[in-house]
Amino acid sequence: MEWVNAIVQGILLGGLYALFAAGLSLIFGVMRLVNIAHGDLIVAAAYLALVVVQVTGLHPLASAVIVVPLMAAFGYVMQRLLLNPTIGKDLLSPLLVTFGISVILQNGLLATFTADSRRLAAGGIETATLHVLPGLNIGYLPLLMFVAAIVIIYGLELVFSRTSLGRAFRATSDDPEIAQLMMLDRRHVFGMAMALSAAVVAIAGIFLAIRTSFDPASGPARLLFGFEAVIIGGLGNLWGTLAGGIVLGVAQTVGAQISPGWQILAGHLVFFLILAIRPRGLFPRMD
């Protein structure tokens, strides 16, 4: 039962990793940009949630009504001002800009909030559990994160497949030159993609803040988990990120079951294994 429990916890943890990964996958899909600052944006969203909760007294989960639009607006402006001028020439320059944003965010958070690790208290939801079977407990928070991941990915898929904005995303991804002839302003389309990515980042940041303690240097590890989930799942496939997140989560919890020191390493090993066997991931949709 210990092993079953480890696998179940891993699956649920995969929901959080899918939330880290979905925004990353979306940005890569639409504009072929690897956003190195993605993890730091998640941490910045966590701090933003902290401030919002302190100032307004809202429940951490309810802080989303403020954190999500603020992050989305920040993402849009960041894309228009910093990233758009570098996009299209080569792959390296926008990548370097996101690296710069990453460094600035980390140091900005450090200067503002110090290096102390913080956590967002959510009134007991962090520790509440359902006793499913003897030895198998499911926490409310992991379950909520998992359900949120499914709902968000389903929502993103709907946006991509059914809306005018989604068609604009796909057309711009397919052929950015011809997409302009469809009266699409590429700068705005990219801005909207980053806004949507940042909205998902906001949710991921709030969950991160409730689930674990975080500090200004927590970003890069979140980027790595998100990135691994994207690659395992297959580029350009949002449901794939959920599968990738679950594979990574299960690898980590099973690794931890073997020995606590193996938790993170097991995740990386499974990532390398999948990369070696299926270099394009489990469910690739993009060339």
């Binding site: 796909r170 991804s173 052929d175 699409l184």
Partner: protein, 241 residues
């Protein structure tokens, strides 16, 4: 004076250090079909790309309804009412046939052309509307590309090599739709390597050679030899005799 909807004035354009056009003058009259002919590399596609903003040029080198639009952003030029059927069709491969058509029109003013009208013009597309655009035959893909441009209800429509790589019987089908398109009053620039076919549907033509206009006028005013000379260059024709 003239009722030109589109005037090209001394257009110079190219790609980086490579100059493809050396001072081109072209006038497109409202409601006219203009054939743009010339050999490979004469600069036909570059001219269309300059008109649509995909290739940079100076502002006053292109006048649309008397207004300078040269070098404007492609999406803004498209909004003004200039649409293109690009060479090689360039359908969006992750969009279905219907989505390819819809995206062509969803930011455009309502007008003559709608999804139903396009399906009326190319009935096969209604059958295939749920298929991915790129799963169709070459000729059907060309119909989608034409439909996508029509959905914008453009005032100026640019066709770039619509018969390239298609079987003759398919080309005939595509051109069968031409009168219905021209009848709506849209002004058309037709780039075509098949000179005979282009001159058959056009009221006037411009022949490019190595980035310059080598001959222009009405097809009936020039004999075959003059057009051939303008197409290949006089020296080449003389050498062939």
């Amino acid at each position: 004076m003239s009722g030109s909807i589109l005037s090209i004035r001394g257009l110079r354009a190219g790609y980086g250090d490579f100059q493809a056009l050396f001072g081109i003058d072209v006038d497109l009259e409202e409601g006219e079909v203009l054939a743009l002919i010339g050999a490979n590399g004469a600069g036909k596609s570059t001219l269309l790309k300059a008109i649509t903003g995909l290739v940079r040029c100076e502002r006053d080198m292109i006048l649309y309804g008397g207004q300078p639009i040269g070098g404007e952003r492609p999406d803004l030029i498209a909004r003004r009412g200039i649409a293109m059927v690009p060479e090689g069709r360039r359908l969006f491969r992750s969009l279905s046939v219907e989505e390819n058509l819809v995206i062509g029109g969803e930011r455009a003013p309502k007008g003559e052309w709608s999804l139903d009208r396009v399906y009326g013009l190319f009935p096969i597309l209604r059958e295939k509307r749920r298929n991915p655009g790129t799963a169709l035959s070459g000729g059907q893909q060309q119909m989608v590309a034409i439909g996508r441009a029509l959905m914008a209800n453009p005032r100026v429509l640019l066709f770039d090599e619509i018969s390239l790589g298609l079987a003759p019987v398919v080309i005939k089908d595509i051109y069968a739709a031409f009168p219905a398109i021209a009848a709506t009053g849209v002004s058309i620039v037709l780039v075509e390597q098949d000179v005979v076919r282009a001159l058959a549907v056009a009221r006037c033509f411009v022949c490019l050679q190595e980035g310059r206009v080598s001959l222009a006028g009405r097809p009936e005013d020039h004999d075959r030899a003059a057009i051939t000379a303008a197409y290949f260059g006089a020296a080449n024709v003389a050498g062939a005799h």
